[in-house]
């Protein structure tokens, strides 16, 4: 069923994009004034042997193309360098953060997509009604707010009036209580960041679902179905929904970059220990290796997510692979 050339083309595209991102990442951080080495040991006096060792390890005494090869080899083997600030391995900082972000973002995305589909269907079915106008206006207003500000407002309300924790992921440390209490603790910390992200993300899904459904409604087969006397409910779900869901799926993958932008802001406000907080702290400390590793990790994660969406797409719409 899945066309081999389609898959091969997508895999090739994936490899090319990853190669481009790696090269881009390398040159981007070489524009820096001074070399990474002098930045690494700002002010610290090192014995000359140690300096020589480090220079050799990062290849900083070599011409740029050799440095590029060394960088490629290091990155491929998971050596992303060490943090200026804590001198810990960048990979060790990035991976747990990425997992925490994926936890937050996937739950938020699932809620937003589900909610977006539902609200979009209501708005399309009753277009022009008071409900539709209210949703559209709300979407526009939500779009106009910076996500971090929405987070700040929710933080204020949640902490002052609802007694929710100010931030981070846990209050109770692992192993001291049973699983259920531990889970409840996580939920208490997660509710505000989730709400912020969902409110920030749901609008575009509503708009796209509504637009796609309105497009489907004008199709000939919808008019035929209506003429055949099919019930409204069947018309909306079996004919409308199933055809309108395809543009939604494309958007989900495309929107991932935007969602990550929202997650970075949300994590910063609520000190959620994910990529956003890691990036925020590296900005404040000007910790370039961590910033570079985080940028690489986030970008490659998004590219892979897009690839998976490309692979799933033929199953949702057989027309794609046969093109």
């Amino acid at each position: 069923m899945v066309n081999v050339t389609y898959v091969a083309k997508k895999i090739l595209g994936l490899l090319v994009t990853i190669f481009l991102v790696l090269s881009f990442n390398f040159y981007l951080f070489r524009i820096l004034p001074g070399n990474p080495f002098t930045l690494l040991y700002r002010g610290a006096s090192l014995p000359p042997e140690a300096k020589r060792d480090l220079n050799a390890q990062f290849g900083l005494d070599q011409p740029l193309w050799v440095q590029y090869l060394i960088y490629m080899r290091n990155t491929a083997s998971g050596n992303f360098g060490i943090s200026y600030q804590t001198h810990a391995s960048v990979l060790g900082l990035v991976v747990p953060s990425l997992i925490n972000t994926v936890v937050l973002l996937s739950v938020a995305s699932a809620i937003s997509i589900g909610g977006g589909i539902l609200i979009g269907m209501i708005a399309a079915w009753r277009r022009g009604s008071r409900i539709d106008v209210t949703f559209s206006a709300a979407t526009l207003v939500m779009y106009s707010m910076p996500t971090f500000w929405l987070g700040l407002v929710l933080l204020f309300v949640g902490v002052i009036y609802l007694g929710l924790p100010v931030g981070e992921m846990w209050t109770i440390s692992f192993g001291t209580v049973d699983m259920l209490t531990q889970f409840a603790d996580l939920m208490r910390h997660m509710i505000l960041p989730l709400l912020t992200l969902v409110l920030g993300l749901v609008g575009q899904y509503v708009l796209v679902m509504k637009g796609a459904l309105l497009d489907v409604f004008t199709e000939d087969y919808m008019i035929t179905a209506r003429a055949k006397g099919i019930s409204n409910r069947k018309l909306l779900w079996d004919h409308g929904f199933r055809n309108a869901i395809l543009p939604m799926m494309t958007l989900v993958a495309l929107n991932l970059g935007l969602s990550i932008g929202g997650a970075i802001q949300t994590e910063t406000v609520f000190s959620w220990p994910g990529m956003g907080l890691l990036i925020y702290r590296s900005i404040l400390a000007r910790d370039y290796p961590v910033l570079q590793g985080a940028f690489l990790m986030v970008t490659i994660a998004v590219i892979f997510a897009n690839f998976i969406a490309d692979m799933l797409y033929p199953f949702l719409d057989p027309r794609v692979a046969s093109k």
Partner: protein, 300 residues
């Protein structure tokens, strides 16, 4: 000689008349769009605030009132004071101009890049188009905010690097819109006629394609300004701004870093609401312009 001058001035007169006619026609269309009118009025309000800043702000935004730290709103301090005892109403008023200017400057860079890439991709052959669209897709895949953060932090903090970071990343939408416009314009008879009579590519691009792409690019710019203002606030909030320059994002950053957010609602609400209203104003205006200039798009 004099005859020619008369002809020339007559021609100028009729061109001016044509412009006025177009403008009248345009404003008639625009006025019918209620959302657009609301957006434009809000926009005028904020531009007026930016221009009249010194007359509107009761105090210098950096003056500290030593007896008034984190005071709630009162008649002496309409929006209250911050943790340094500075008047927040004055700060929000003073933040208007820079926030607008940064948004404009970044959007200008983004739409210039986007228009150039869109024109090139749309006008010249398949190969160049494929290459440039690949580049655009590449920039679309990379999470925009993360790329901006990286660029801004490499370029040392400050307004210029924030403007550049937003401008260098935010051109993809414009490039796509301009490219599709150019593609359809290229097939028009007047372009073919111009080509047949020996006009060069650069001439055709400058005098036939660009003027026809301009309105759409303009509508795009207005929409990009909205995005740029949001991104400026975000980048500044994340600590990439210049702390000495008051913008709405900077006020919010101070509120966050000082920990005042959990105690002082007056510190957080006015700058955020200002950002929201300005972005709303630009979005409404931009969508209305777009629906007039580019009627086929965005029928939803």
């Amino acid at each position: 000689m004099s005859n020619q001058t008369v002809l020339e001035s007559e021609e100028k007169y009729s061109t001016a008349r044509a412009y006025i006619k177009t403008f009248v026609e345009f404003s008639r269309l625009y006025r019918r769009n209620r959302m657009g009118v609301i957006g434009l009025c809000m926009l005028i309000f904020f531009v007026a605030v930016a221009i009249l800043t010194p007359y509107l702000a009761p105090y210098d935004p950096t003056t500290t009132f030593s007896s008034a730290f984190l005071q709630p709103p009162s008649w002496t301090h309409l929006f209250g004071t911050n943790e340094a005892g500075q008047d927040l109403f004055s700060q929000v008023v003073y933040g208007t101009g820079p926030s607008l200017i940064i948004g404009f400057a970044a959007a200008l860079i983004a739409t210039t890049i986007g228009t150039l890439i869109g024109l090139t991709a749309g006008y010249f052959g398949q190969l160049i188009r494929d290459l440039l669209m690949r580049l655009t897709d590449f920039f679309l895949v990379i999470p925009a905010l993360v790329l901006m953060i990286v660029l801004a932090s490499i370029m040392s903090s400050g307004l210029t690097s924030i403007i550049l970071a937003i401008g260098l990343v935010g051109w993809t939408g414009t490039a796509r819109v301009v490219m599709s416009q150019t593609l359809s314009l290229r097939e028009q008879t007047f372009v073919e006629a111009s080509k047949a009579s020996g006009a060069g590519d650069f001439y055709i691009l400058r005098s036939h394609i660009l003027p026809n792409v301009m309105p759409v690019a303009f509508a795009q710019t207005v929409l990009v300004v909205a995005n740029s203002i949001l991104y400026e606030a975000t980048l500044t909030f994340l600590g990439l701004g210049n702390p000495a320059q008051i913008t709405w994002g900077q006020i919010l950053q101070f509120a966050f870093v000082s920990g005042a957010i959990t105690t002082s609602w007056w510190y957080v609400l006015p700058p955020g609401i200002s950002i929201m209203l300005v972005v709303l104003a630009f979005s409404l205006t931009g969508y209305s312009l777009d629906s007039i200039f580019n009627p086929r798009v965005r029928k939803i």
